[in-house]
């Protein structure tokens, strides 16, 4: 059984970042890049599934700049068996990423594509579902528990009102949510040790066909400054004045 895990290189999700003054992008000066935290949960889950099903092979893939090697090395250090880096300097919007991943999935024939539900940079939450549609595979998004059984996967997924369990025939696309697991910590030596694992560099097999384009980025509108109140009575009085209660 093969699990394919797409990983994305994103701005450190815990850094304070702002758009460049000319609106052409985010100001990345002095900001580290990390693996998208949801993709890290996906890698961790694949490794834990392999603990129970030793026949599982885990392939991590990233599409983008050569620097995404860092994130793939981390995936390898966490336990992925091999990595594929599809190198491109072109901009792939979510549908274009889904096209390229669909082409890769047809070649690699994974049983499960396990991936983050969204990337913390563009917050799109699109690629997993688009990929499943393009492949005509079942999908289970926002997974909080995954059980692989013969020929299918049972996924507990978070919903607007609680959760539900879906059974998907394989192959399937599963996107993961925060509650699935807590990824292991990998120290730098572990990442260096993973250098002996195979990392295959390729060119994309599709040309990006952007269906959207980001024209500019602006800072969010600032909220009017607030104030501190000294007591509960002052708070309740202020809320009454505003008509909030």
């Amino acid at each position: 059984m093969k699990i394919l895990v797409p990983v994305k290189r994103v701005l450190d999700p815990f850094a304070k970042v702002r758009p460049l003054p000319d609106g052409s992008g985010m100001d990345t000066a002095g900001v580290k890049f990390e693996m998208n935290p949801f993709d890290e949960i996906a890698i961790e889950e694949a490794v834990r599934q392999r603990d129970q099903h030793p026949e599982i092979e885990i392939v991590a893939v990233s599409i983008g700049l050569p620097e995404a090697e860092d994130q793939l090395r981390k995936a390898l250090a966490m336990g992925a068996d091999k990595a594929i880096l599809i190198e491109s300097t072109e901009t792939f919007d979510p549908p274009s990423i889904a096209d390229e991943l669909a082409a890769l999935a047809r070649a690699e024939q994974p049983d499960i594509i396990l991936m983050g539900k969204q990337a913390t940079d563009d917050d799109s939450n699109q690629v997993g579902q688009m990929l499943a549609a393009k492949l005509g595979w079942p999908q289970a998004t926002f997974a909080s528990k995954i059980v692989i059984v013969a020929g299918s996967v049972q996924v507990t997924r978070e919903t607007d009102t609680g959760d539900e369990v879906l059974e998907c025939a394989l192959p399937a696309v599963v996107t993961v949510d925060l509650r699935l697991n807590e990824p292991r910590y990998i120290a730098l030596p572990g990442i260096i040790k993973a250098r002996s694992k195979p990392l295959d560099r390729r060119a994309p097999t599709t040309s990006p066909r952007p269906r959207t384009r980001v024209r500019r980025l602006d800072p969010p509108p600032a909220r009017a400054p607030g104030r501190k109140v000294a007591s509960v009575d002052e708070l309740v009085g202020a809320l009454r004045e505003r008509g909030a209660i």
């Binding site: 304070k16 009102t161 925060l178």
Partner: protein, 299 residues
């Protein structure tokens, strides 16, 4: 053809969908997947699928593809359900997609927050059709225009994932994304019973919904559907009360559109005080009972 299809998964989504479609400025039809909508909010046609529940995305989407073919824009209010289904629909239609639109400049240009709200992106769609999920706060609901003529429609479900079980949490409180008042709590609430008593108690007194931080949900104090923030629910109530919440960027991304934000925290340097309209530096276990007593006195 420049025409919008509003997909409403339940009747509560019809009015907000009509608000967005009106702002888009094109004629629109509504497809209601479950339940019944008696009122019309400006739709030319209202299709009624009459399903008992919303099927899994892979099973429902093929029937939506067939229906969506005649439209330039297919839109739905943002929710976990719509993100699941609309993105699959966009993939099947080979459509452009805009997630979480907060403003419309034209039918090809939208604004949406990215990087946990650290920037507002102006996004241009380059192809048609366009699939959009939107946050309803920016789009006023149009006036009702009498009763809608409902056209029953059959959605042929495809073979797909099987729903084995479903559990609904909550119970009796208003929907978090629709509520006029939201009271949220963080990790300092200790355990589920304390959270329910302190946060739930104040929410009930105000007729509001309950929210929680990721930390509170991760530690099992609150259930997952209550999580507010970048990767949880986006809320925009008239009043948001944050108790024992430090104010991470990820949490603030989910509450920025609230009209009045109140922060109660015993740490005067908590970042949430930079965002709050009204901040009270106090122990929430003292402050919340005192607020409840003051509300009682004011009746």
């Amino acid at each position: 053809m420049a025409k919008t299809l509003v997909i409403a998964f339940d009747p509560a989504e019809v009015a907000s969908g009509a608000g967005f479609a009106t702002a888009l400025g094109q004629p629109f039809d509504v497809l209601l997947i479950t339940g019944n909508a008696a009122n019309n909010a400006g739709a030319e046609r209202t299709f009624l699928a009459g399903l008992d529940s919303v099927p899994p995305a892979d099973s429902l989407t093929p029937s939506l593809v067939a229906l969506a073919r005649g439209y330039s824009h297919i839109v739905a209010v943002s929710s976990m359900r719509s993100k699941d289904i609309m993105a699959r629909l966009a993939g099947a239609l080979d459509a452009a997609m805009v997630t979480d639109a907060i403003a419309i400049e034209s039918p090809t240009v939208y604004k949406r927050p990215i990087v946990a709200g650290a920037a507002i992106a102006t996004v241009e769609t380059l192809t048609e059709p366009v699939v959009v999920t939107f946050r309803p706060a920016g789009f006023p609901e149009p006036a009702q225009q009498g009763e809608a003529t409902l056209e029953p429609i059959t959605l042929e479900l495809s073979q797909g994932s099987k729903r084995i079980s479903e559990s609904m949490h909550g119970g009796g409180r208003p929907d978090l994304t629709q509520a006029r008042v939201v009271v949220s709590g963080g990790r300092p609430l200790k355990d589920a019973a304390t959270f329910e008593k302190v946060i739930g108690g104040l929410a009930d007194q105000l007729g509001g919904a309950v929210g929680a931080t990721r930390a509170a949900v991760d530690s099992g104090i609150a259930s997952n559907e209550l999580q507010v923030g970048q990767t949880g629910k986006i809320v925009a109530p008239d009043l948001y009360i944050a108790a024992g919440i430090s104010g991470s960027t990820q949490h603030m991304a989910g509450i920025k559109d609230s009209k009045t934000i109140v922060a109660i925290n015993n740490d005067p340097s908590a970042p949430i005080f930079e965002f709050a309209d009204l901040g009270l530096v106090a122990d929430l276990y003292d402050a919340i009972p005192a607020i409840r007593a003051a509300l009682d006195r004011g009746k």
